[in-house]
Symmetry: C2
Subunit: 436 residues, 2 copies
C-alpha cells in the first residue's frame, strides 16, 4: 500500500470506510486488554517465586555483622545488601543506602527533604522566593514528572534524542540558572523510548558546572540489567555516572536510584540509592528521624536468593526470554500494518519495558481514545510530557510486558488499526480543508 499522504481524496475516503468497518468489527469482540503500564506479567512473577522459600522458621536471621534482621536497627541497609545492590549499580556497597520496596518513594522523599530541609545545608526549597525549575527530558516517565509537579516546580521540557537529552540545552539551563535544581534521567533503556545515553552524554552530565550548589541529577537506572537479548552486541552499556562525576571533580551532583522491582517482585523488591559520601551523610541524618529502619528480612531474603550478581544476570535472561517475543510481536505488527504508510514511527529497544510510538502530529490522543473504545487500555496520550501535555500530540508509550503473548498480539492489532483509522481520517480532513 502506498503512503497515506500520497493517496488521493477518493483513495483516503475508501480507506477510511474500510478501516471503520474493520474497527466496528473489532469493537464487537468486547476485548479487555491492557498495554498501559510497565508491569511484569504473571510468567515473569513466577520466575521469582523461590524467593519466598529463602527464609523459613529455621533460618539464621543474622547478617554478616551479627545484626538480627528481625529486630530494629541498621537504618542504611545490611552490608551484604549494600554490596549486592552496589554491584547492580556498578558502585561500591559503601556508596549505597538500601530503602524499602519502592525507588519512586526514595526519589519522592529526596525531593521532599530538599524542599523541607535543603540539600547539604543549602536553603530549603520551600523557603526560596522563586519556584524551583526542573528539567524533564521528554518523552519521559510520567511518575517522575508528577513528583516535581506535585511540589509546584516549574517543569522544563528537554527534547530527547537517541543518545540522551539535548545536552546543549541541559548545559545552558544547569550552568546558568541557579533556580534549576534537578533533572530526571532514565539513562539506560529510557522510558519510553528504550534509548541509552551515549558516553559523551554521560560525560557531559558529569562535567556540568551547576549554577546552583544544590543541583542534583536524578539518575533513575531502573533498567540497568534489563536486556532483551543475550547477544552482547545487542546489550546496551552506559558509563557509570558516580565514577564519572568523581573523575570530573563533582562527586556530589548526582543521586542514582535502582531497584529490584523488575528483577524479583514489583510489590516486594529492594530499592536503593547511590551517591557521594557527603550526600549519603546528609540523607542519613534525615532518615534517622524518619524511620528506625527498613525491612532487613527482605534484604536478607534477596541477598541469599541471588548470592551474587552473576546469578542475578542469569535470572534476568529468563525475564528476557518472556519479554523478547512480546516486544518483537508489537514491532512486527506495527511493521506489517503501518510500515511504509508514513503515519508513524517507533523505537526498537534492546531492553527496558517500553516502545515509544510517534504518530502524525495531532493524532495521539485520538488513537488512545479509539484503542479504549475497542477495549485496549493504553498509557494516556500526553503522559510522557510534563503536565501531561504533548505539544505535538504525537507520542504514545506502548507497554508490552503485562498481557500474555496471544492477548498482546490482539492488542497490537487494535493499536495498529486505531493508528491507521485516526491517521486516515486526519489526512482526509486535511485534504477537505485544503479543498474548501
Amino acid at each position: 500500500m502506498k503512503p497515506y499522504r500520497e493517496m488521493t481524496r477518493e483513495e483516503l475516503q475508501a480507506e477510511t470506510l474500510k478501516l471503520r468497518a474493520e474497527f466496528e468489527q473489532i469493537k464487537s469482540l468486547h476485548l479487555k486488554l491492557d498495554m498501559s503500564r510497565g508491569k511484569p506479567s504473571q510468567d515473569q512473577l513466577n520466575l521469582s517465586n523461590e524467593l519466598m522459600d529463602v527464609l523459613n522458621s529455621d533460618s539464621y536471621f543474622l547478617d554478616s555483622t551479627g545484626t538480627d534482621c528481625r529486630n530494629y536497627g541498621v537504618s542504611g541497609g545490611i552490608p551484604e545488601a549494600k554490596n549486592l545492590m552496589g554491584e547492580m549499580s556498578e558502585v561500591a556497597g559503601n556508596d549505597m543506602i538500601i530503602f524499602g520496596n519502592s525507588s519512586l518513594n526514595i526519589m519522592f522523599d529526596q525531593v521532599s527533604r530538599s524542599y523541607t530541609h535543603g540539600v547539604c545545608g543549602n536553603t530549603p526549597w520551600c523557603k526560596l522566593d522563586q519556584p524551583v525549575k526542573w528539567l524533564c527530558p521528554s518523552p519521559g516517565y510520567d511518575r517522575h514528572f508528577k513528583v516535581t509537579e506535585y511540589f509546584g516546580f516549574e517543569l522544563i521540557t528537554i527534547p530527547m534524542t537517541p543518545t540522551g537529552p539535548d545536552m546543549d540545552l541541559v548545559e545552558q539551563y544547569v550552568n546558568n540558572d541557579p533556580m534549576v535544581k534537578g533533572i530526571w534521567c532514565v539513562p539506560k533503556y529510557s522510558n519510553p523510548q528504550g534509548y541509552s545515553y551515549s558516553d559523551e552524554t554521560v560525560r557531559r552530565f558529569a562535567n556540568l558546572n551547576p549554577a546552583a550548589d544544590d543541583f542534583r541529577i536524578y539518575w533513575d537506572n531502573a533498567y540497568s540489567i534489563h536486556h532483551l537479548y543475550d547477544e552482547p552486541e545487542r546489550q546496551d552499556t552506559i558509563l557509570e555516572l558516580l565514577h564519572e562525576c568523581r573523575k570530573a571533580g563533582h562527586p556530589d551532583i548526582c543521586f542514582k536510584f535502582i531497584s529490584t522491582s523488575k528483577v524479583t517482585f514489583p510489590g516486594a523488591g529492594l530499592a536503593a540509592l547511590a551517591a557521594s559520601q557527603k550526600n549519603l551523610e546528609d540523607i542519613a541524618r534525615h532518615m534517622s528521624v524518619q524511620t528506625i529502619g527498613h525491612d532487613k528480612l527482605n534484604q536478607l531474603r534477596h541477598v541469599r536468593y541471588f548470592g551474587n550478581m552473576a546469578n542475578m544476570r542469569q535470572h534476568m535472561r529468563r525475564h528476557a526470554a518472556t519479554l523478547r517475543p512480546k516486544f518483537e510481536a508489537v514491532e512486527e505488527t506495527l511493521e506489517q500494518e503501518i510500515g511504509g504508510l508514513g503515519i508513524g514511527s517507533w523505537t526498537k529497544p534492546n531492553g527496558g519495558y517500553f516502545i515509544s510510538f510517534d504518530s502524525l502530529d495531532g493524532c495521539a490522543r485520538e488513537i488512545v481514545q479509539r484503542c479504549a473504545e475497542a477495549g485496549v487500555k493504553m498509557t494516556p496520550a500526553g503522559a510522557t510530557y510534563p503536565y501531561g501535555r504533548d505539544p505535538h500530540d504525537s507520542n504514545i508509550r506502548v507497554a508490552p510486558s503485562y498481557p500474555p503473548l496471544d492477548e498482546l498480539k490482539k492488542a497490537a492489532q487494535v493499536f495498529a488499526l486505531s493508528i491507521k483509522l485516526v491517521s486516515a481520517e486526519h489526512l482526509l480532513q486535511e485534504k477537505e480543508q485544503e479543498k474548501a
Copy 2:
C-alpha cells in the same frame, strides 16, 4: 534503712563511702548491658519465626479480590490486611491505610506532607509566617519529639498524669491558639510511664474545639494489645478515639497509628494509619504520587499467619510471658534496693515496654552517666522531654525488654546502685552547702 534525707551528714558520708566501694567493684566486672531501647528480646523474636513459613514458592499470591500481591498496585493495602489491622485498631478495615514496616515513618510522612502541602486544603505549614506549635505530653517518646523538632516546630511540654496529659492545659492551647497544629499521644501503656488514658481524657480529646482547622491528634496506639498480665483486671482498656471523635462531631481531628513491630518483627512488621474518610482521601492523593504501593506480600504473610484477632491476642500472651518477669525483676530490685529511701519513685505498668523512674531533682543525668561507667546503657536522661531537656533532671526511662532475664537483673542492680550513689552524694553536698 532510713530515708536518705533523714540521715545525718556523718551517716550520709559513711553510706557514700560504702556505695562508692560497691560501685568500684561492679565497674571491675566490665559489664556490657543495655536497658536503653524498647527492643524485643531474641526470645520474643523467636515467637514469630513461623511467620517466615507462611509464604513459599507454591503459595497462592492473590488477595481476596484477585490482586496479585507480588505485582504493582493497591496503594492503600489489601482488604484483608486492612480488616486485621482495623480490628487491632478497633475500627473498620475501611478506616485504614496500610503502609510499610514503620509507624514512625507514617507519622513523619504525615507531618512532612502537612508541612509541604497542608492538611485537607489548608495552608502548607511551611508557608505560614509563624512557627507551628506542637503539644508534647512529657515525659514522652523521644522519637516523636524529634520529628516535630526536626521540622522546626515549637515544642510545648504538657505534664503527664496517671490519667493522661493535663487536659485543662491541652484544651487551653488547642482551643485558643491557631498555631497549635498537633499533639503527640501514646494513649495506652504510655511511653515511658505505662499509663493509660482515662475515659474522661479520651472524651475530652474527642471534644476539643481546635482553633486551627488543621489541628490533628497524633494518636500512636503502639501498645494497644501489649498487656503484661492475662487477668482481665490487670489489662488496661481505653475508649476508641475515632469513634468518640465521630460521636462528638469531629471525625477529622485525629490520626491513629498502629503497627505489628512488637507483635511480629520490629524490622519487618506492618504499620497502618486509621482516620476519617476525608483524611484518608487527602493522604491517598499524596501517596499516589509518592509510591506505587507498599509491600503486599508482607501484608499477605501477616494476614495468613494470624488469621484473626483472637490468634493475635493469643500470640501476645506469649510475649507477655517473657516480658512480665523482666518488668517484675526491675520493680522488685528497685523496691528491695531503694524502697523507703525516699530517693525515687517508679511506675508499675500493666503493659507496654517501659518503666518510668523519677529520681531526686537534678540527679537523672548523673545516674545515667554512672550506669554507663559501670557498663549499663540507659536511654539518655532528658530524652523523655522536648529538646532532650528535662527541667527537673529527674526522669529516666527504663526499658527491660531486650536483655535476657539474668543480665537484666544485673543491670537493674547497677541502676539501683547508681541511683543510691548519686542521691547520697547529692544530699551530702546539699548538707555541706547548708553547713557552709
